[in-house]
């Protein structure tokens, strides 16, 4: 359809329509992107004696012992559960609070909107390291140090700018007549938001929720500094502080890495179209 004239966009690369070449190029891009992860997957099923020599690249037989060890004999399962709790609650808080704020910015006549949106953008540019020590002291003062609440709340706050930014444009795209019709029918703005606008904004809410969840699941610096024990560590912290200072158990580490990656990689693949739409929102159409 876009190549109706029968030429490629760049005349000289028209030969890319050749299926074989196309396949080769896709494979090399695939190797670049997936190669390191595939190697980690191979490593995670290699028996211990095959880990300290190369070749063989492929092990003669696969073993599940690394997975068994990290899941049953290390605190990784606890860390994965912690990450799930933290990411789920951060997502809930950021999306709920974010959609209220975004709705106010998009539809209600509050003063200084450009300033607020600018401030929102500026907040997302703060280097986390600049706030980490006061935040640490604040959490200690509140008695929240080394709790999941501290990590989840921090993630929610630092994901808020993203959620507000995305959701404001989502609410702006909904016809304003819908909102005014609900108001004329006697809804308060809050009820109009909850019963009329939010159901229509579901795709946008899902994108915001996905991006916040992935951010929170992957976040490392806050999680590292605000937690201090196995019972509160999130999965990335567990992977970073993987036990074994002198001899790194590469097989176990590979298994742990893959287990930690699985949930977000799964989400990314399942909802790839929505995520790409969310990431490119605003950047392409302005």
């Amino acid at each position: 359809m876009r190549d109706a004239e029968g030429h490629g966009k760049f005349g000289g690369v028209g030969s890319l329509r050749n299926a074989g070449l196309r396949f080769c190029l896709l494979v090399s891009v695939g190797l670049f992107c997936l190669g390191p992860v595939l190697w980690q997957a191979v490593t995670s099923v290699k028996p211990d004696q095959d880990l300290v020599r190369l070749p063989p690249i492929w092990p003669d037989h696969a073993t599940g012992s690394h997975y068994e060890r990290v899941l049953l004999e290390s605190p990784l399962a606890q860390s994965l559960a912690n990450s799930a709790i933290v990411a789920a609650s951060a997502t809930t808080v950021a999306v709920v609070v974010g959609s209220f704020c975004a709705f106010a910015l998009a539809r209600l006549p509050i003063a200084g909107k450009p300033v607020i949106l600018g401030l929102v953008l500026a907040t997302s540019m703060f280097p986390p390291i600049a706030v980490i020590s006061p935040l640490y002291l604040l959490m200690r003062a509140l008695g929240l140090r080394d709790t999941l609440v501290a990590v989840g709340l921090t993630h929610a706050v630092y994901a808020l700018p993203l959620a507000v930014w995305l959701l404001t444009s989502v609410f702006r795209q909904l016809p304003s007549e819908l909102y005014y019709a609900a108001r004329v029918d006697g809804c308060t703005p809050l009820r109009a938001l909850l019963t009329v606008l939010l159901p229509l904004a579901r795709p946008g809410l899902a994108v915001a929720a996905l991006l916040v969840f992935i951010f929170s699941w992957n976040e490392f610096m806050f999680a590292l500094t605000l937690t201090a024990s196995d019972s509160t560590r999130t999965a990335p912290v567990a992977v970073a502080l993987f036990p074994g200072l002198y001899e790194i158990p590469w097989g176990d580490l590979a298994a742990a890495s893959l287990l930690v990656t699985l949930p977000v990689a799964g989400l990314a693949v399942l909802f790839q179209r929505h995520i790409v739409a969310g990431l490119t929102a605003g950047s392409v159409k302005g």
Binding site: L34, V37, A104, P109, P128, I129, F220, A240
Partner: protein, 312 residues
């Protein structure tokens, strides 16, 4: 400006008699409160802390004014960290933009004309983006392993190197090893944005250029690049911000070593704050870094102004 009012149909009960404007502030309040308490207040507190000499383990807490900043000015390790950070940022952002452009054009070409959506390709390039940075650092640490890491093995087999290299222990290689890892992790993000931009370029422009006899390079230089400029700027903004603030990638990969050759500003600040527990000096470091990021941000915001105006 007058706000629309619906007083005639509004139920006049208690709390619900707020004006539109009042509702606006009420609904925005939780977000403002959270950001104020946990982002703006800590920033102010960090500024305040940076004017103190504060080391809780020694019971030291005194106001020293700008002494910390004066010390910073004479701190070789700080300037080294600045250089490392800017070197890392310059190298990785440039490479990411160029490679991301290449990848985007490749995917655009490969998937166009087939009538199929580039789903498979997008799935492939979204994976490195989705992987936790910490995990990607560990993945690469294993690839870089000098004795039985895959990279050394492949390079030895193909004859590119004669002897194994301990990538992460070599002062010259370590920072580049971190750059390569960062490129792998974030080029997909650049490629995704640029790909979205490429697909929005009207094909007629290329057809017209071909009729006028413009070659591939001319089409790229005079159609693709100018039309994609907004996307390019956004990629540069996001990637520069992240690269200047880089922490987990390098921290997990090298811990700042060998020596301090891969110590970025974030890592230096982190070590000062949490390993030597100098909250005052660490906050001064963090503030200096904030100033650098803010300077770069405002530069970019100036570039982005047109965009911001359109969305508001």
């Amino acid at each position: 400006m007058t706000s629309p009012r619906f007083t005639g149909t509004e139920r006049p009960t208690g709390l619900f008699r707020l004006s539109e404007r009042g509702w606006g502030y009420l609904l925005a309040a939780p977000a403002f409160a959270l950001v104020g308490l946990m982002a703006l207040a800590p920033i102010m507190a960090a500024l305040w802390l940076s004017l103190h000499r504060r080391m809780p383990i020694f019971g030291v807490d005194e106001f020293v004014g700008i002494w910390n900043y004066l010390q910073l000015w004479n701190d070789d390790r700080f300037w080294a960290a600045c250089r490392t950070t800017l070197y890392f940022t310059g190298l990785s952002v440039t490479a990411e933009l160029i490679l991301g452009f290449g990848l985007a054009i490749l995917l655009d070409r490969v998937t166009s004309g087939t009538g199929r959506s580039p789903r498979l390709a997008q799935v492939m390039i979204i994976l490195p983006w989705a992987i936790p940075t910490v995990v990607s650092a560990q993945i690469w640490a294993w690839l870089y392993q000098p004795d039985y890491g895959l990279l050394t093995y492949l390079l030895l087999q193909s004859g590119f190197i004669a002897a194994p290299i301990d990538w992460l222990a070599d002062p010259d290689w370590a920072i580049h090893a971190a750059v390569v890892m960062d490129i792998w992790k974030t080029t997909p993000f650049a490629a995704l944005l640029l790909l979205a931009g490429l697909t929005s370029v009207p094909q007629e422009l290329y057809a017209a250029a071909r009729v006028d006899g413009a070659g591939v390079w001319h089409q790229f230089r005079h159609i693709t690049v100018p039309l994609l400029m907004p996307v390019i700027v956004i990629v540069l903004v996001f990637r520069t911000m992240d690269a200047v603030r880089v922490f987990d990638a390098v921290f997990v990969l090298t811990g700042g070593g060998p020596g301090n050759t891969t110590e970025t500003l974030s890592i230096y600040a982190y070590k000062t704050l949490f390993q030597t527990l100098q909250f005052g000096y660490g906050s001064a470091l963090a503030t200096a870094m904030f100033v650098i990021v803010a300077a770069l941000s405002s530069l970019y915001v100036l570039l982005l102004r047109r965009h911001l105006r359109e969305t508001m």
